[in-house]
Symmetry: C2
Subunit: 248 residues, 2 copies
């Protein structure tokens, strides 16, 4: 069977999940991180795209995307990005898109910790409005004391939400990239003392129908990472070799 | 800009939507149907894949898939299938998958009239159960008189649902292809006098989280077709030329 040689930017929890999920299709794997993490792959002391690498996968953070994405495109490789928050930097995104025009590369931004982007993509310009409602336990929003009633603690534009809730920046930016128009997106953050884990809800209104997607993600073995986000990245890479492609 | 030459199998409502949605990227377009429908494309009297065609798109029905899919693969073209119900015929599917192994072609089955397949794909073997709950106005289920209370009129396996509700076969089979295991799928049909249009709900349980996707699709200008299904097919084809791919 065909094997994929990959360079992972990042050697942490998500990289580990990728190695496990994609073990059936990975050939040679390199990783680059600010320090050696003991990942079962060849550690690169400095960033470069080795000759035999087919694709580059970022699973390190926004800064890593900003630092290395252009180099990946210049090397003519496809890039998978989990830290889509990097694309909130408009100037950076525009430079990247210009570079893409002149290259053979593609950039893939998987659905990540939210789903239903197949619906949003299909609806395209027919989407009239999208609400992203993030329901969180008050303690995770920094409240030490909180009553027993849920309360809206933020309602506003995606740009503002990105600044105020950096822990959810990837979800917000991926949604923005899918909808393509921040004016059609409304973000609401609700502190809800009745829940123990985040519940993300997407409400999509359009001339072709109305949709609601509710996510109760469980954390991955390392609780700072959304498990679904990591699995979504793996699934996106898996598609490369599929000859019978379902969904999308 | 690059243009896509396409052969559409089917010259009806969905073909019309495709021509409209994809007008920016379509070059030469042929269509084949049992009769000429006046579609703005070149009509083929008999089925063949013209030399200059890049992809073949089925938007005609299950029988068309069964009749022409193998020929498309033999011609080395990619095939987009909206009538996924054809893949309920296991023997046919297996023959197709064998043929795919030896070809350069791919088959794409878009999400269609349901969404959230990006979540199901990502979860993969972690999915423990999926409920597809189809809520319908009693009249659309053939009831002439019905009380004011909703009632479950079917609960069972996907194979049985396919036989009993042929009008929803594509949704059921696409879900089955995504989940890959019919034992993990439970179908429920509810006659609900309080609604005027179908509401499809997907409930996904997994070790990485729980998800619920609710669809209130509106019909397309021709009410027999799900608009979302047609738009999903168009969006799937659009991905071919995208260099910055969001979702999936």
């Amino acid at each position: 069977m065909e094997k994929l040689n990959a360079l992972l930017i990042g050697g942490g929890n998500i990289a580990r999940i990728l190695l496990e999920e994609l073990c059936h299709m990975l050939g040679k794997v390199y990783y680059f991180d600010f320090r050696k993490t003991g990942l079962e792959a060849e550690y690169l002391e400095s960033f470069e795209v080795p000759e035999d690498v087919d694709v580059v996968v970022e699973c390190a953070g926004i800064e890593a995307v900003k630092q290395h994405a252009l180099e990946v495109l210049k090397a003519g490789r496809d890039l998978y990005v989990i830290s889509s928050g990097a694309f909130a930097y408009t100037e950076f995104l525009e430079r990247l898109l210009r570079e893409l025009e002149n290259s053979e590369s593609k950039i893939f931004v998987p659905s990540g910790a939210i789903g239903g982007l197949d619906i949003i993509r299909a609806l395209g310009k027919r989407v009239s409005g999208v609400d992203l409602i993030m329901r969180k336990p008050p303690v995770s929003l920094g409240y030490k004391e909180f009553g027993s009633q849920q309360r809206v603690v933020f309602e506003g534009r995606v740009e503002e939400a990105i600044e105020k809730f950096p822990q959810n920046v990837n979800v917000a930016v991926t949604l923005l990239l899918a909808v393509r128009d921040s004016k059609r997106i409304n973000i609401r953050v609700i502190a809800d003392p009745s829940i123990e884990r985040n519940i993300h809800e997407l409400v999509v209104r359009s001339s072709a129908g109305d949709y609601r997607i509710t996510h109760e993600n469980r954390p991955s073995p390392n609780p700072r990472t959304s498990y679904l986000a990591a699995l979504s990245l793996a699934s996106c890479i898996e598609k490369r070799f599929e000859r019978f492609v379902v969904g999308g």
